[in-house]
Symmetry: C2
Subunit: 391 residues, 2 copies
């Protein structure tokens, strides 16, 4: 039978057709008025999408590039920083901070868990220059409490910058950078904004820009002040990924169009969307007898433990080979233990029911799980949607 | 929430991405070696796809153009012809035959029914020059017995040509033109071959080509002999829809690739695919308490009667506005009475379960049908698929 290949992965996520067309048509040079008009428009849209008064910078890199830019621009060798880590992406903050010579304090929680604010309070020193964390830890499908950490910082050490990897958090969880006092919010293109990988972006607070005046870690391609200066003229410092910027513009147009042109409201709708389909997925998985891996599940992606004695790779492979549905295995040490299903970006009710129907087929006919039959996963998912739709 | 627009209509059907890309890239002139190579290749592929030794002609027109070509090329004014009709497309044969001055005998059955071979036998006269019928009547979701009619013709009047509109029959039902002795098989691009509307094609038997030597109905754009002559040189008589021909080539490549390069086997797989998802849909709809409209349901599209007192347009509209899922209402006098869900072409298990989940939501939360709950439609569909997959 026909098997369409479909991504249910937490990045890349499914592409928005209008963005694909814009990308295919983007035959323009980057040092022209046409590009400057496009770039200025997309930067302004992105600001509205992030929901901030801060300047937003786009980099032609993966999200890791923007994470590096946050470290290299905002720290100097020897700076004391605090990293909150409970997964692969938390560990990336630690590795980056160490690579740039920071003196790194780490609060490390087991994979699948989140942080205790009291522990964070204890670890915060007066010398802490910056705190790095994830809004959503994609490797474990876990939400972290950015608002709580931000509040704590204001109380305990208002000089420390708060730098948040919101790569899978933006568009899936409420994030109010300006009200909460987040200094840097990092995003990526292959996530809730529905375009391919290749762009990252950062919203940067005024006090973070001021911090950069005095820091002296080496940076060149990721020099944020240079990018900010160029952006004022509608240009990027180095050759930008033009087609992706055109795609991003089209995607932001689409998100705005979902809420009468209001990008902030469009983002709120995206958040609602992710939250409803995440809940559908969680309840379906629990009904199948699967355990959720995270104690603080993220609406960006659901991490599900494979049943006792089953390698999660078997489920990932069955979904791929039998149904063309691509989900992801656990990363690193969690490989074989869990699988992850994404909800961020361009997914709808039909996508979700379709994937859950395939997962139910795998549970019934491949895994032959006890107490599972057709309808076990689909019925609770239908109920979650009906309740959400009735609101 | 996000609502992707998805076609579940019996033409246009969902587009194959590889065909979309080929279409977008088709920047070639039609009087060049490049186009001649493409056209010759696509004509040869189409022959394999139809599964015939007969020459196949492509026309830049909708399927109705190829239907007209069958009439205008194969009849002369005053010719006695027999039309089998039980729906909108059967009526189109009658209208075409009359438009070209034929003396038309009609076997007309109520919508949703098919023909009694004894009645056909009775209506066949020795003077009948041609018989026109549908393999699948799309307006009512009904399969007609082409093989039975072909057999009858051989017995009763072997001189009469059998001309079959297989626009939605090809790729959904077994059709063996050469073995059965069908003289003309008409197909369209926006159907099982997964590309947009704009092309039709006909496979034409040797004795039909011979018949054309003596017929004298007016034809110019649809002159099949002229097209056949040009096709031998890899060209079309008039400017062809180049992008659609490139798309058709890509789609036939895809269909072949499903069966190790064997297009006939690829078509057989398409037929199996349509038959499984049609059965999933039928059983789900029956479980919801809906009645099937046809006594001989076609695997191309399922026509479903709206429940007593419900306008089928309400269901069509709810699927569209709440879920972005486009199905079709009844045509003509059946508008408001039935809705139609397509299975032909680029649909898979996930598409089918997704649509049925949306239909179940409409049944439970909008129509509030008695004895219907979540799972009522989805569970039988899951069972049909599991049984088919176990074979």
């Amino acid at each position: 039978m026909i098997r369409k290949t479909r991504l249910f992965t937490p990045g890349p996520t499914p592409l928005l057709p209008a963005a694909q067309f814009a990308m295919a048509a983007a035959d323009i040079h980057h040092r022209t008025p046409e590009f400057r008009a496009l770039y200025s428009r997309v930067l302004a849209q992105l600001k509205d999408f992030v929901g901030t008064k801060n300047d937003v910078i786009i980099l032609s890199s993966s999200g890791t590039g923007a994470m590096e830019a946050s470290v290299s621009n905002l720290t100097s060798p020897g700076d004391r920083v605090l990293v909150l880590t409970a997964g692969k992406f938390g560990e990336r903050w630690t590795a980056l901070a160490k690579a740039f010579g920071c003196s790194v304090d780490v609060i490390s929680k087991p994979y699948g868990q989140t942080f205790d604010l009291n522990e964070v309070k204890e670890a915060l020193k007066l010398e802490t220059r910056a705190v790095f964390m994830q809004a959503s830890e994609t490797s474990t499908g876990t939400s972290h409490d950015v608002e709580g950490v931000a509040k704590l910082l204001k109380e305990v050490n208002s000089e420390a910058l708060l730098i948040v990897d919101a790569i899978t958090g933006l568009g899936t969880t409420p994030l109010d950078m300006d009200a909460w006092g987040v200094d840097v919010l990092v995003g990526g293109s292959q996530k809730a904004v529905m375009i391919p990988p290749g762009l990252s972006y950062l919203a940067v607070s005024e006090r973070a820009w001021e911090r950069m005046e005095g820091t002296y870690n080496p940076r060149y391609y990721f020099d944020l002040r240079k990018e900010r200066k160029n952006a004022k003229n509608g240009e990027s410092a180095y050759t930008p990924a033009v087609a992706l910027i055109a795609a991003l513009g089209a995607a932001l147009d689409y998100i705005a169009a979902q809420a009468d042109g209001d990008l902030a409201a469009g983002r709120a709708k995206l958040v609602d969307n992710a939250q409803v389909i995440a809940k559908m997925t969680r309840e379906a998985c629990v009904a199948l007898g699967f355990k959720l891996f995270s104690t603080s599940p993220s609406p960006a992606a659901t991490a599900v433990l494979a049943p006792e004695g089953v390698d999660s790779g078997v489920i990932v492979k069955a979904l791929k080979t039998r149904f063309g549905a691509i989900i992801t295995n656990g990363q690193g040490e969690m490989k074989g233990q869990l699988f992850r299903i994404a909800h961020l970006g361009f997914f709808d009710f039909l996508d979700t029911m379709a994937l859950l129907a395939a997962l139910e087929q795998v549970a019934v006919t491949d895994l032959k799980l006890p107490n599972v039959q057709f309808g076990t996963a689909l019925i609770p998912a239908q109920k979650v949607f009906a309740e959400a739709a009735a609101k």
